[in-house]
């Protein structure tokens, strides 16, 4: 169900929301994340914007780096191994877990939980990473900017608000591309999952869902990720050829309704798989269990005191 929006000379964007089409296009080598400014005018602006705001010293953030980037793929592998809770490394503290569980129980505000998430993520990269309201608000601004277009965004750029937010996050991330991606962009997936968990927990159906169902209900992919066409491409999703410079938006959010699995949420099994899959899933699972424990229930929702009765 791809849609192509084409205004000759001005814009050529393809929106793809069908899981099978996304899988196919994601493996298509003529689609990549090099973001060379070419094609219609607005396409050039889109790619320039990506390169300007989502790169550090000319190097793109890892989620926007091309498939052939050897450093990206190497770090991706190393991170996936390092961020697996099953390895025994403490990836979060008990106090952090308690705060996130408190948010899920509706006891603390979203911003406080988000700061904690940012802190958890930042400390994966630097033990002394410090998150606060200011860094969280900066990350939120970056997320709004990344996720769409609005006249307000021009004001953010003119006023320097966007630059200041980016600089603050860069400074806390020590100019590290991976730390910057995690603490400015990646964390939003976790925050959104916790928000869904909080809603779910307060709904009557919470008692009817097992842990896997809760994780399946809470995790969701990013709304969309961009690609650009590198060489002329003929594909069944579009009537005409896709020409170099055409922007292809893989709409993972819409695809997630049809395929709510790790392949869609984390691109598992693909060259661009999220290295934090095990970490995010483990954290979400731990928060859910903690929120139930403090309610006197085990991970299946059974009351602990009842289970203790012989």
């Amino acid at each position: 169900m791809a849609r192509r929006i084409r205004l000759p000379g001005l814009l050529d964007v393809v929106l793809v929301s069908e899981p099978a089409e996304i899988r196919t296009l994601n493996e298509e080598r003529r689609l990549d994340r090099r973001f060379v400014a070419r094609g219609p005018l607005l396409n050039r602006l889109i790619t320039r914007r990506i390169r300007k705001w989502f790169a550090i010293k000319g190097e793109p953030l890892p989620s926007l780096a091309p498939r052939g980037d050897a450093e990206r793929s190497e770090r991706q592998r190393a991170l996936a191994a390092a961020l697996d809770p099953a390895d025994g490394r403490a990836l979060w503290t008990d106090a952090q877990l308690a705060r996130l569980a408190a948010f899920v129980r509706g006891e603390i505000a979203r911003d406080d939980a988000a700061v904690t998430v940012q802190e958890v993520v930042g400390k994966l990269f630097y033990d002394d990473y410090r998150a606060d309201r200011e860094t969280w608000q900066a990350a939120e601004l970056i997320d709004w900017f990344r996720d769409g277009f609005s006249p307000e965004q021009i004001l953010w750029q003119i006023s320097g608000r966007l630059r200041r937010a980016r600089d603050l996050l860069l400074e806390r991330a020590r100019q590290d591309r991976w730390a910057m991606h995690g603490s400015a962009i990646g964390l939003h997936g976790i925050v959104h999952a916790l928000e869904r968990m909080r809603d779910l927990r307060s709904a009557p159906e919470a008692a009817s869902l097992d842990e896997e169902a809760v994780i399946g209900r809470c995790l969701a992919p990013p709304k969309q990720v961009p690609r650009t066409v590198e060489a002329t491409l003929s594909t069944p999703i579009a009537a005409d050829h896709l020409r170099p410079g055409t922007v292809v938006m893989l709409q993972l959010g819409a695809a997630g309704e049809r395929a709510p699995d790790a392949e869609t949420v984390f691109m598992r099994g693909h060259w661009n798989a999220c290295p934090a899959q095990a970490f995010v899933t483990g954290l979400i699972r731990a928060v859910w269990r903690r929120s139930l424990q403090e309610d006197g229930r085990d991970e299946r929702g059974h009351h602990l005191h009842a289970a203790a009765v012989p």
Partner: protein, 608 residues
């Protein structure tokens, strides 16, 4: 296939309108357009595919897949051979993340037996005055064509929950076998909700009569002496279905049909009628094509019979179930188009436009997902309340009662015993002149709440409790969540759910929170649109799935042509209806049916 811009606009426009006013409260013309808008919306937003690694069937070399329906339903869509075939997964109308099956403790809350006893049990029979018992018989006949979850899971521990104190259930706890799990899950399914598979073909292809595999097809075509060479289905010398020597229920009087579970007199009547119709079609084709062999005659008769059944359902049965002028026009338009039957009879279908000329012969389309019957469709078709408990068999000539019995007497082999004492036309007459139950709270058949499975061991089935549990087990959203995912208004209190003050109190006592109300209970309690026998909630699934069963089927769209059906075949479908079928196989009913506008409306009773 993509949504067209004007479709998007119409759908969006009516989404706004419906925030203020529901479709059935609009003037006729606007209501018709609103229904079209709802169908567009649902086709693109409420069809979800659950297959991850679908099967890859091989086209049989000795069978004309282009012009005949395969036994297992494969290659209906020539480019996606597995679509709709037997043993493929049920699809969903709810977004997949919302379809995780419920687990204990919530799975058993509120207790299904309590719901069965306090909310569903029939106190006094409440009839649906405007329809007859052929309507639920037809419905079950159709459901057996479209779906079956197969045998339940005997390998896993069953569901267990306590029976409340003071209940007359023979045991202190109720056990219900689980739905058989999908045995073909793979790594690609990790993290996804559980799935189940349809044991029969998903298509509207008469598989309840013709089987969903070659072996069963041969079985129903076989007389004791072997396969009938003339292309007919086997009937005994009295024109009834033969007995099934291998009946699963071990009842020696059980009639044979490709799907003969949950057999009762209504189902038997429908199978008998349309088996006779198949044989009548064969006789007609043999006159036209004397040199064709029995296999060809069988396959063509099957195509024609299945299309006729689809047409009767769309243009007659649905109109009886949903008696509103808007629906009458809309459903007839789905077959003949907005130009109407008269235009069709004068000029045919020159336009191949679904809107103007109807779905048959318009292009095959699947919209947002490959065709499959959905779990939500299964759920909203739980209409057991339609079944009466008591039956009176009367002579069509003078209306004199010849047999009075209960539903328990009409189950399984009981049908054969009725056929031995009551002529077929009197069975039809008796069903046609009786009212079914109204789908509402407190109207679930008593017999179906205590079906004797192995009574000597104290094993019974409460179908009402089972219905409740099945929806929860299969991840069908509960009532409010169900409406939410269909973008309908959601009741925030029991007062908003139903106008019946007593039901409000009863529901509140058992559920406490309106969000916990089960889909079945909610749809039975909901205040229905005028003339409707089912709820507006169930109707939304009906809107999308009713048209889809035709629109996705190559044999009812692209290949609904004289070349595939033969000219005589197309004429048979277009010139016949339920009334003609009834009169062909029970001609003695002609005086009774003389003034009957719709065969599913109550027939007049004969005067002695």
């Amino acid at each position: 296939m993509k949504i067209r811009p004007f479709e998007s606009i119409v759908a969006a426009l009516f989404r706004i309108v419906n925030r203020r006013r529901v479709w059935h409260r609009l003037p006729f013309l606007l209501a018709v357009i609103n229904l079209l808008a709802l169908r567009i919306d649902l086709r693109w937003r409420n069809l979800f595919d659950t297959e991850t690694v679908p099967r890859n069937p091989v086209a049989p070399s000795d069978f004309d897949i282009r012009r005949c329906r395969t036994a297992d339903g494969s290659f209906n869509d020539m480019s996606i051979g597995w679509m709709g075939m037997a043993d493929t997964r049920f699809g969903r109308n709810a977004p997949l993340a919302q379809t995780f099956g419920e687990k204990p403790p919530g799975l058993y809350e509120p207790n299904p037996r309590v719901i069965s006893r306090e909310l569903l049990a029939r106190r006094t029979f409440v009839p649906a005055d405007s329809i007859n018992v052929l309507l639920p018989a037809w419905l079950q006949f159709m459901v057996h064509d479209w779906l079956s979850h197969g045998v339940n899971d005997t390998a896993s521990p069953p569901h267990r929950f306590p029976v409340p104190a003071g209940d007359d259930w023979p045991k202190p706890e109720m056990t219900i076998l689980r739905t058989c799990p999908d045995q073909q899950r793979g790594p690609a399914d990790e993290g996804r909700p559980a799935t189940s598979r349809n044991a029969v073909t998903h298509w509207w292809d008469g598989s309840q009569m013709y089987g969903s595999d070659r072996k069963m097809q041969q079985c129903v075509r076989g007389a004791p002496t072997g396969l009938l060479a003339n292309g007919k289905l086997h009937l005994d010398e009295t024109g009834h279905l033969p007995l099934d020597p291998e009946a699963a229920n071990k009842d020696p009087d059980q009639e044979l049909a490709a799907v003969n579970g949950n057999w009762w007199i209504g189902l038997s009547a429908m199978h008998t009628l349309f088996t006779r119709e198949h044989n009548a079609i064969v006789d007609r084709l043999r006159i036209e094509y004397p040199d064709k062999d029995g296999e060809w005659l069988f396959q063509k008769a099957r195509l024609i019979n299945a299309a006729l059944i689809a047409k009767i359902h769309a243009t007659e049965w649905t109109h009886a179930l949903l008696q509103s002028p808007t629906l009458q026009y809309a459903m007839r338009a789905s077959w003949w188009g907005m130009l109407g039957e008269a235009y069709f009879k004068a000029f045919g279908r020159p336009l191949h436009s679904e809107l103007l000329s109807g779905i048959p012969s318009s292009p095959q389309e699947h919209y947002a997902a490959p065709y499959a019957i959905t779990e939500e469709f299964t759920a909203v078709y739980r209409l057991h309340s339609l079944i009466p408990d008591d039956y009176s068999f009367r002579r069509h000539g003078d209306d004199k009662e010849v047999l009075a019995c209960t539903l328990a007497d009409l189950f399984a082999g009981g049908t054969t015993r009725v056929h031995r004492s009551v002529p077929f036309e009197d069975v039809l007459y008796s069903l046609g002149t009786s009212n079914p139950g109204l789908p509402a709270l407190h109207n679930f058949p008593t017999h179906l709440r205590k079906i004797p499975e192995k009574p000597e061991q104290g094993i019974f089935t409460d179908l009402a409790a089972t219905d409740i549990l099945r929806d929860r087990e299969r991840g069908v959203p509960r009532y409010c969540a169900f409406r939410r995912m269909l973008r309908m208004s959601v009741p925030t209190s029991f007062q908003e759910l139903t106008e019946n003050a007593q039901w409000q109190r009863e529901l509140a006592t058992i559920y406490g929170d309106v969000e916990r109300v089960d889909l079945l209970t909610g749809t039975l309690a909901e205040t229905k649109p005028p003339g409707f026998a089912i709820s507006d909630t169930a109707f939304r699934i009906f809107i999308v799935m009713a048209g889809r069963r035709i629109k996705s089927d190559r044999f009812l769209t692209d290949d609904y042509t004289p070349e595939v059906y033969t000219p005589a075949g197309i004429a048979w479908v277009e010139e016949n209806g339920m009334r003609e079928v009834l009169l062909r196989h029970a001609p003695a009913l002609a005086p009774v049916l003389a003034d009957v506008r719709n065969s599913f409306f109550p027939w007049p009773r004969s005067r002695g």
